[in-house]
Amino acid sequence: MNNIIVLPMALPIMLGIILIFLRPYIKTQRVLTVLGLLVTIGISIYMLQWIQTDGIIRLDFGGWEPPFGILFVADSFAVILVTAASIVTLICLIYAFSSIGEKIEYMYFYSFVNFLLAGVNGSFLTGDIFNLYVNFEIMLLASYVLIVLGGKRMQLRESLKYVVINIISSWFFLVAIAYLYAQLGTLNMAHISVLISESGQTPLLTVTSLVFLIVFALKSGLLLYFWLPGSYSAPPTAVAALFGGLLTKVGIYVMIRVFTLIFYHEPQITHTIIGILAGLTLIMGSIGAIAYKDIRQIVAYNVIIAVGFILVGLAVMTQEALEGAVYYLMHDMVAKSLLFLLAGTMITVTGEKRLDNMSGLIRNYPVFGWMFFIVMLSLAGVPPLSGFIGKVLVGQGAVEAGSYILLALGFISSIFVLYSLLRVFLNSFWGETIISFDDEVPMKKGWMVSFGLFTALMFTFGLGAEYFAPFVADAANTLLNPQIYIDAVLE
């Protein structure tokens, strides 16, 4: 019965392959993708409930008992993110239906979105470090294609950089796996953890962990984010929203997983470095967010600030901080996707990219404008929206651990987030209208549906934080006590 764990990855892959054969039937492709995503969401919610009663579930492929075979492990943390990723993909697709254009849809757009989701879900669920690499590659290959679909000059230019930087970081990943394998002779993450706690985390292993840190920092945009603003500005809005919501989060997830499950013995080295990197990311992200007038750049730098903030939670490593990190991760997937969609829509309706060339949008699109306001408040952490609970818990954890510098940086960065988005809001939504009511581009229904769903989700996360608490607490508890995960895998 626990075969169900593989479905969040297997279902999108099979669907993606089937959709290749249905190329001319775009309507059918849309319907099938939505159905597939709904089933995936249903399955992941079911799994989440199941984990609460029966503990961590695992699936050994081919019946090879761990540590010999590849396996999928579903704990609360992984499944929460699987659920969030599937929901975000669904809502971004609703936006894509009425924005992406037939030309791109014919070019296997839905297949590649399914492959992307398969890679993301696989990375969340896998319990084997080499399988993690493979899942990363599935995700990245799909993202290489998605970023360039449409073939505009800017897309081609930025995609080259994006692809090269990711190939090199994947290379680092393989090198790190090779070093780890040479020392321990195993690839099962739980088994690696056991072997390291038996032998102690030798300096060589700590160095290996730092190679892993470089890899995940490149993937998640922790300090090594130089590729991010360019490549997230290039693709069509719906794809940019998917990237902003999902891709960096996978890097963060893996970093949290590896540094709580495997390399947690030398926190004074590894976690201090993560803390420093997170602090620097917060500072540089904040400067970037207020330095540009291009809306896409502002939004992309907001992604970077969030990465820094979530990893403050990992750096201080207390129960509260990790709970906060999980909450904030969920919130950020939703809020960042919405922010990307809103920013992309602003560019679509005005045809301008600079914020000082837009103004008075609120008269043309009042609901749209107030949604931008809500997402801004949510990202700044104003209650009762979804960003609040994560910020409070991370802050509480940082106080407990006594890391006041990270605490200060984290909360100052919230002010920068607020300022950077308020600047967009004041410049673009207030002031004289530049679009007359006659030649105003009508806001399509599909767009408003997806914005509405995202906004509703933000309220749900914020107001229903109490309801999510048991799941998040269980996730943080498993992260903090790796023995629970190890026992579930190795029995």
Binding site: E137, L160, V164, I168, I177, A182, D294
Partner: protein, 113 residues
Amino acid sequence: METLMIILTGVLVTIATYLVLSKSVIRVILGTAVYSHATHLLIITMGGLKKGNVPILGDDDVSTFVDPLPQALILTSIVISFAVTALVLVLAYRAYQTLGTDNMEELRGRKYE
């Protein structure tokens, strides 16, 4: 033997880094391909070289056999790097057709494009 392989890996990484840092897109791609070969050598070396028989269960002495796992890893990784290199080559060709240049310097981009 292991030392020799590690030196070879180092040489390959040096060459690849040189290529990746050059301005021409095609040389960057070749650099990434050389990187992947270097890692494959590294992984196989990390599993230990020349330790014994082929890893197939049979009547032979099973106490000495080569670790099969690195070979499986390399096989997977070769397939992936093949796919990625193919994709990047197509991408580079298309970018060259559209943008009319293969010089990384000129691919920097302008503001507000």
